[in-house]
């Protein structure tokens, strides 16, 4: 079995709040969390894509995951809220600083292209409004084949009963077309008390009597563990060139030169697999 992950913790400027959020996630048994930066472009003025803060700047020491005696892994994730096709720029250099890339399409056309074309890891399903479009089988299946997953967040359902209704309704429509596969469940929590444990999240999705979100027991557990893992692996593939050359964070630089900026992607390929054909390709 894969470890538990929560790939959506809302970023806030308040450092202590973010710290308590990560600490609570570790206490509840999540081995990996991702801090989510939301980028919502508007037509009127040009906005900057947020820059992720290095994790060691946010917290001094990472908390130990309950029951695993290992520190929690914290990633960065960018969510682009799209209302127009120009809002997502493929191959933008700013996106490369993030470990995970998600889009939140608001129209059916954008949803279709997000599923079939865009090089992203996660497609967010709206939980704060009634679904403005219908999930068609073709794009949903296409996303499944490409390894792109859909995300459902539950913290809105905790906050408000109207949003809870929308969450459940949208989740059920999604489940109808994707049959429980390729779905991850995350919190989108802003405060520590909005987080729930992995088993609580699993329990929200049983199909037992057509309850709530309508996933089967096995699918529900996969939604917080192994599907999340495949998302991370899918995110890794965005950093490879044809699966041969792999760029990685050069965190080791930090020890040699503490003044230099840590955790930046090096532009050259660093880790080349042991294969004789590769050398020709890298040159």
């Amino acid at each position: 079995m894969s470890v538990f992950m929560d790939l959506n913790l809302s970023f806030s400027e308040d450092r202590s709040q973010l710290q308590s959020l990560v600490e609570m996630a570790a206490h509840l048994g999540f081995s990996t969390v991702a801090i989510n930066y939301v980028f919502e472009p508007t037509a009127k003025k040009k906005q900057e894509i947020p820059v992720p803060k290095p994790i060691n700047e946010l917290m001094d020491q990472l908390p130990i995951v309950q029951g695993r005696s290992r520190p929690i892994r914290v990633l960065n994730r960018l969510t682009v809220v799209m209302s127009d096709s120009s809002h997502f720029r493929p191959n933008a250099a700013e996106y490369r600083r993030f470990d995970l890339l998600a889009v939140h399409p608001t129209t059916e056309k954008l949803f279709h292209s997000a599923c079939m074309l865009y090089d992203v890891d996660i497609i967010c399903v709206s939980v704060t409004e009634k679904l403005p479009f219908f999930f068609k089988r073709a794009p949903v299946n296409g996303a499944g084949e490409r390894g792109v997953v859909f995300e459902l967040c539950y913290s809105a359902a905790i906050r408000d009963s109207t949003l809870r209704r929308y969450t459940i309704a949208n989740a059920l429509t999604l489940m109808e077309s994707c049959r429980g596969k390729n779905v991850i469940v995350s919190s989108a929590a802003e405060k520590a008390l909005e987080l729930r444990g992995p088993y609580d999240a699993t329990n929200l999705y049983p199909a037992a009597e057509g309850l709530l979100f309508g996933l089967s027991d096995a699918d529900a557990k996969e939604a917080v563990s192994s599907t999340c893992r495949s998302v991370l692996l899918h995110a890794e593939t965005r950093k490879t060139a044809s699966g041969i050359i792999y760029t990685m964070k050069s965190c080791s630089q930090q020890e040699e030169t503490p003044e230099s900026e840590p955790c930046r992607y090096s532009q050259e390929p660093v880790n080349v697999p042991q294969s004789s054909t590769v050398d020709v390709l890298t040159v």
Binding site: L28, Q66, G67, Y154, A157, I158, R159, S161, R164, K191, L193, E194, L195, R196, G197, Y199, D200, A201, N203, L204, P206, A208, E209, L211, L212
Partner: protein
Amino acid sequence: MRRADKTEESAVYQRVVLKNASPYHYMKVCLVLEDASTRPSAVELKQFIITGLKSLYGEVGAALNFDLLKYDENTLTALLRVCSRGLVKLWSSLTLLGSYQNQICAFRVLQVSPFLLALTGNSRELQLY
């Protein structure tokens, strides 16, 4: 078969086998409140859980049979007994309970078991040397 029965007659223990049909499930839950000075009483806690059930599942859900067996007001830890068919409903309504008297709260489900005895210890809190 019969001979085996005879030899086992003197045994002092009784073996109970439940094949996925235990009538009740037991949950150990802990209520976490934003303001730690608020201490709901046992009656208030049960009422609060029923409100949660009612807001998620309506009148039918509020009619679910569950009991508050034990409640520690200092740690806000409670032991609940619920008939097995209602476990998912009770658990999901506890998960989606988010505010108590206009302050944020969360139910942490510590342990769930079909056997009450299993809740006497928690393997995650063992101190191994």
